[in-house]
Amino acid sequence: MKTVFLPRQSVKPRAKTVSYFVSPEGALFHLKRGRQRCGVLCATFMSERIGNWPLGSAVYPQAGPIANPLTAPNPHKTPSTVAKEDEHLLVAAAKGGDLSAFNELVSRYERKIFRLTMNITRNREDAEDAMQDAFLKSYSHLKDFEGSSRFYTWLVRIAANEALMRLRKRRPNQFSLDEPIPGDNDELIPRDIEDWGPSPEQRFGQTEMHDILSGVIDELEPSFRTVFVLRDIEELSTEETAKIVGISVPAVKSRLLRARLKLREKLNRYFRQGGVH
């Protein structure tokens, strides 16, 4: 079977043929129109978990049409809970050599992985290379993925390592991510506190807010930024973050505190009443 990689924008809305992959945990259906893939449907054997479902719609009069989360108008807006439902099916299919299943995983996570590599490297060329290598490595090492964590978490580890490798290479003499932070015993109490007024999310548009957040995180030193990105944006555990960055758990906690305080201070410029716009 020939697999065609398609960016999501090229997805056609209606399928003419269906091919499927069945595993003990559920089934994965590839929808195609001619040679073009136009969607993926996943089914898990929910009935085994919640008991026997009686047949007949009259039993569930409230039941309505079920939207396909993968072909919804804005699939990236769907929360990770949706991804968790079928992620293991896509991974199982990809492990079996189904490139279109892997393509679906790439399509699902490309934006988040690029944000991660961009946040760590703050260099578009490095971020792009790190993202590409992360996806390629994840495919070639899929057989080593045992499923004890989410595929996305595993992918984040690979992408973070790729990004950190490039960051260290580009700035070998400036600092080391694993060296102690000077001034660890300094007083931390922030001095500039001002009322932020109404919710910043209501005061700023989405694009403006994105620019503000991108600008302030760019100003953080890499040793703080990396820990903040892994812990607060990617939501990795303290232990996982420590392992990836190569520092101790207390060092992760210390840097996370400082990163959060520094970001608050930088955001204060924008969010205080009458601040910079």
């Binding site: 490309e110 690029f114 792009e128 390629l136 910043p200 906690k253 305080l261």
Partner: protein, 76 residues
């Protein structure tokens, strides 16, 4: 607990990573200290803003090169 100690524990407090005793000490301090209460609230808001921010779409050229790399290297 003074303001410096309270600030040092804010991050662990947000993450639910404090012992019961330390959490209670911090909450007693926060009850009496408006300065630290505002700081804590703004730090929490800072974390939420970054956590909730949706990643933007990949630039077109970056996306095209990603899929080209996948096509050329994986489809072999």
């Amino acid at each position: 607990m003074n303001c410096n100690a309270a600030t040092r524990e804010m991050s662990n407090y947000i993450d639910g990573d404090l012992s019961v005793t330390l959490r209670q000490e911090l909450e007693v301090h926060l009850h009496d200290c408006e300065h630290c209460t505002v700081i804590l609230k703004q730090v929490e808001m800072t974390v939420e803003l970054f956590c909730d921010a949706e990643p933007v779409d990949l630039p077109g050229d970056v996306r095209a090169r990603l899929y080209e790399a996948l096509r050329s290297k994986l489809a072999k």
